[in-house]
Amino acid sequence: MRRLIGLMLPLFLALGLTLACAGASAQNYPSRPIRLVVPYPPGGPLDIMARAIGQKLTEAWSQPVVVDNRAGAGGNIGADLVAKSPADGYTLLMGAVATHAINPTLYGKLPYDPVKDFTPVALVAQVPNILVVNPSVPAKSVKELIEFARARPGHLNFGSGSTGSTGHLAGELFKTMAGVQMVHIPYKGGAPAMADLLAGQVQLMFDNLANALPNVRAGRLRALAVTTLARSPAMPDLPTIAESGLPGFDLTTWFGLMVPAGTPPEIVLKLNQEIVRALNAKDMRERLDKMGTEPPANNTPEHFAAFIRTEAAKYAKVVKDSGAKVE
């Protein structure tokens, strides 16, 4: 009997300790610094939000969250890096509409699978794009613009920050739905495109709201509509393209946090809860408000995953119709 207990006791102890450790891995999370990969160069709106959220997480958990910028190939380099990282919750990705909805169709082959390689955690922001025109264009509404464009096929130029960006695809969708012909002029980034729009080299642009707003307020550009289905709280008087004659037009730039597939669900949930709490803090709300949006409602990992699926399907069609391709 004594020998039996002597044999069983260490076994039970070992079992008990192992169970305690397994549970503790999620309870102790995070126990070391976390890396937040941003697949774009520093300074853009996505990067700024990533740093802001990283700061909030650092304050909440007393573990540093370090932003790692890995730009290139339209966001694919950074996304690929996280896809191939260990699924322990210590490597996060600020994925975006580009990496998970547009690029799968835009690029022939991706080194990662946007659905299988990732577990979505939480949507951070859905930013509207805004249709702005140079004052030299005599249109004061979307309807007038469509009439103007129909009367002059191939005359108007619209600029965008890069081939395959939401600004480009918004323009292509607009062309298809309105039946007008415009020439797309790609630039290396939103800033040179904005410069040429102000100068009148290009006549219109579907830029993101935060970038375009200062020049609209100063009267150098005219805002015609937003690209989202619902009006933006930052400019409630501005109609949507959908209600201006092209029903169903809905395009936003979104980004959110993701982890490699296979990350334990408790860690995913813990991340989600803290991020949602961070997004609803007063200063974050102000920041989102300046970008023309508000914290997403019903922000659960499952909801985000479903959102990504619908977006990917939508953009698959838009990219194919536009004929845009990157190799």
Binding site: G43, A73, I185, P192, D196, A199, L213, P214, N215, K290
Partner: protein, 500 residues
């Protein structure tokens, strides 16, 4: 108008001279100088790292510090260019040409001093230019469309052949090689990756720092090691730490011309400030006694240094007046402003004058701090050259590799730099100069992008380059310059033919 300016400047200095803002200005310029000296890591990486710190600062303090880092880096970059032929910043490449030669002759001290003084003068003048002419200059910048940019770059390329003081054919060959290297990457219009050999690291092109460090820095180290112990001249022939009166007199014209050119080119978004140091050097080579260029001509240090500092200051204009960033650093500044909840754009000047004028005032204060910081350090830098080379070069190599790695955290980049070092060594052996290569590398992709965009906008009509006034004038000057450069060569051939 004058009274308004005085009033605005008093607001500005009132803000900039507060103890807190003075401290942040000092931190910024000190940091900037340090990272300018360190090869590889530049203002972009540093400002990106410091963005979270700015969350908790007041807007004006944050912007003062970040701006200080940017123009401080221009000062620091020239130090390594002169001492060890390593361009710390892209705008310091031209300073390598004559600055390093001056150091080889034991005149590192005067070179560093003139660089600091030229930069200070240019920075001061440029700050005044911003204060007086920011809005009208921004409008001028907007008049430069793709056609005008293309013609400006053609002018720059033609000037590139002037950069070399050796064989003209070799200079042209290097320029073309640079153009070809610049083609590597993803095409803007079609989205196709060119010459990337399937490597995703090459799909965005080769970074400028990698090429410059390899071809200038690494190659120089290799050829120095090959020559053995003939570096004593650096130390034994040190004739003094300060420039002579003769130096100052001959540089004064160069400084004025460089400042003017730099101020004008800096306002052009997209590569204006980079072009300014090349342009200033090219201009100097066409004026006066040009025999010493490439062998340690002090004007070859003064002109590019004043141009790049003037360009760095005036590149703030599109940001402060239109909210458009002229380069990646300005894009980060926009990020910093947006963190603070300020939307950069035309109304910043009117809605928040203390921000606009405070920044301008602190730019001037920053330049003053920098020249006070840098002049006494010259003695220390010159002492650094006395360290035996067998200890110096491994540390240089180490700093370079760390700097290159810090750009994108990719070991691939470091290996690529080593490859370019090898290529650069081959160039040294073939007596081909790297400066035209660098210029071709920078200008080539920009030229192509603007050419195709101008053609897209004109729907295929190539005459637009001549019918648009600014573009036409620039192309005319380029053709003229080409003829002037080629004419002596043609005449020589004709003479030889006649003799036979």
């Amino acid at each position: 108008m004058d009274f308004a300016l005085f009033h605005n400047l008093s607001i500005g200095f009132g803000v900039a001279l507060s103890l807190q803002n003075l401290m942040y200005c000092f931190i910024g310029v000190l940091l900037g100088t340090l990272i300018g000296v360190l090869p590889g890591i530049g203002p972009v990486a540093t400002i990106a790292m410091l963005l979270p710190v700015t969350f908790n600062l007041s807007p004006i303090s944050a912007l003062i510090m970040l701006a200080g880092i940017y123009y401080g880096a221009q000062y620091g970059g020239s130090t390594t260019a002169i001492l060890v032929n390593l361009p710390g910043e892209s705008s310091s490449v031209i300073t390598c040409l004559d600055g390093y030669q001056m150091a080889r002759q034991g005149r590192a001290g005067p070179a560093l001093a003139i660089a600091a003084m030229a930069s200070f003068f240019a920075g001061t003048v440029a700050t005044v230019v911003i204060a007086l002419f920011a809005p009208p200059l921004a409008e001028v910048a907007l008049k430069f469309g793709p056609a005008e940019y293309f013609s400006l770059m053609v002018l720059g390329l033609v000037g590139a052949t002037v950069l070399a003081h050796g064989s003209l054919v070799k200079a042209i060959a290097m320029t073309i090689l640079g153009l070809l290297l610049g083609l590597i990457g993803t095409d803007v219009n079609s989205g196709i990756a060119r010459f990337s050999f399937g490597l995703s690291e090459l799909s965005d092109g080769i970074g400028f720092v990698i090429v410059a460090m390899g071809v200038f820095g690494f190659a120089e180290i290799v050829s120095n090691l090959e020559q053995g112990a003939s570096r004593d001249v650096f130390v034994n022939k040190v004739t003094g730490l300060m420039p002579t009166w003769k130096d100052l007199k001959s540089s004064s014209g160069a400084i004025l011309r460089g400042t003017a050119l730099g101020s004008m080119l800096g306002i052009l978004p997209g590569g204006g400030a980079l072009l300014s140091s090349f342009a200033a050097y090219t201009l100097e080579k066409k004026i006066g006694d040009t025999s010493m260029f490439g062998k340690g001509e002090i004007r070859g240090v003064a002109a590019p240094e004043s141009a790049n500092n003037a360009g760095a200051q005036t590149s703030f204009i599109p940001l402060l007046t239109l909210g458009i960033p002229s380069n990646p650093v300005m894009a980060l500044m926009i990020g910093a402003m947006m963190i603070q909840g300020i939307a950069p754009g035309p109304q910043v000047m009117t809605e928040r004058p203390e921000l606009f004028w405070g920044m301008i005032a602190s730019m001037w204060i920053g330049n003053l701090m920098l020249v006070i910081l840098n002049l006494p350090l010259i003695g220390m830098w010159v002492k650094l050259l006395t360290v035996p080379y067998r200890l110096l070069y491994p540390s240089i190599l180490l700093f370079c590799c760390v700097g290159v790695y810090s750009l994108s955290n990719q070991p691939f980049d470091v290996m690529l730099t080593a490859l370019f070092g090898l290529i650069g060594y081959v160039f040294v052996k073939l007596e081909c100069e790297p400066a035209p290569l660098i210029l071709g590398f920078i200008l080539g992709p920009l030229m192509e992008e603007n050419l195709r965009r101008a053609m897209l906008l004109s729907r295929g009509d190539a005459s637009v380059f001549f019918t648009k006034p600014i573009s036409g004038v620039l192309l005319g000057i380029a053709i003229l310059l080409l003829l002037i450069t080629l004419a002596p060569a043609v005449r020589k051939t004709r003479e030889v033919a006649f003799q036979e």
